[in-house]
Amino acid sequence: MEEEIIVSGRMNQLIDPQLNIWHWQIPLYLFLGGMAAGILCIAALYYIRGREKDYRIAVRITPFLASFLLVLGLITLFIDLRHKLFFWQLYTNIRLQSPMSWGAWTLMVITPVSFIWCALHIRDLFPRWDWK
């Protein structure tokens, strides 16, 4: 038998148990980010294999969703930070050993690119609009 009692200092639900380090925001981001990644992967796959015509919705239409999902995910990530106004410190260095640094830089690249893609292909979404 081994019994361990914490005698002093840690009788605090904010510290023990530390099951609540990350809150609902992170699972929500993982879901949204995963969905965006899946949409982009499938679109890229069919585009590269030249099946663009057969899968028009997957290649041309659904990638519009990805950028909005990413923005929603970014908002939830921001909400989860405790020291919010210092979030820009993520982009002052690249730390190869930190998974979170990888994620931050990946989002930094993918999100603007997905918006540029939306701007370039917006005509496909509303073909009947008078684009001039």
């Binding site: 081994e2 405790r82 410190q89 260095n93």
Partner: protein, 177 residues
């Protein structure tokens, strides 16, 4: 330079003086702590043994918190002390999740906070608050690279152990058994 601490579990009475001294010295907000006291009961009645440990950040050589930090706020300071730069911390909690010893807590101001081995005291040649205040003098602090420092001497003389060695973090908080 390699700072380390040794806690004598045979001498510690679990009075929590170190906990209070730490909270006072470092202005730790109410309800939080940088160090704590654990009482472990082992065996079956009537062969019971009790071990009392004063625990804090282990200032690991291979610290997962420093590796996980996305901004470089957690870093190694002089003597291998794991420190946190408040103005770089975004409060993402990666370090708290990675620490096998649960040594970090979220400060109400937003950043994550932890034991610093009282680096401000060390710099002026004083002992950390917990070691200075211990009534049974069971906390030894010093430089492991110096063979004559009290922590090196006591670690050579006595058997010691570290917590969760299987995590591979090479902790620098030793417990004399």
């Amino acid at each position: 330079m390699r700072y380390a601490m040794a806690v004598d579990t045979r001498k510690c009475v679990g009075c929590s003086d170190c906990v209070v001294a730490c909270q006072t010295e470092n202005d730790v907000p109410h309800g939080f702590c940088r160090e704590w006291v654990v009482e472990v009961m082992n065996g079956t009645y009537p062969q019971l043994e009790i071990e009392i440990r004063s625990e804090r950040c282990n200032h690991c050589i291979n610290a997962p918190c420093v590796r996980c930090c996305p901004t470089g706020a957690s870093h190694f300071a002089e003597g291998g002390i794991v420190l946190l730069e408040h103005n770089k911390c975004i409060g993402c909690g990666a370090c708290m999740a990675s620490c096998p010893y649960d040594a970090r807590y979220p400060h109400p101001s937003g950043y994550v906070d932890k034991c610093t081995f009282c680096i401000h005291s060390i710099k002026s040649g004083l002992a950390p608050a917990c070691a200075a205040v211990c009534p049974t003098k069971c906390i030894y602090f010093g430089d492991l690279d110096d063979p004559n420092s009290n922590v090196s001497v006591v670690l050579k003389k006595r058997k010691s152990k570290t917590l969760i060695p299987e995590a591979g973090t090479k902790p620098q908080l030793y417990f004399l058994i």
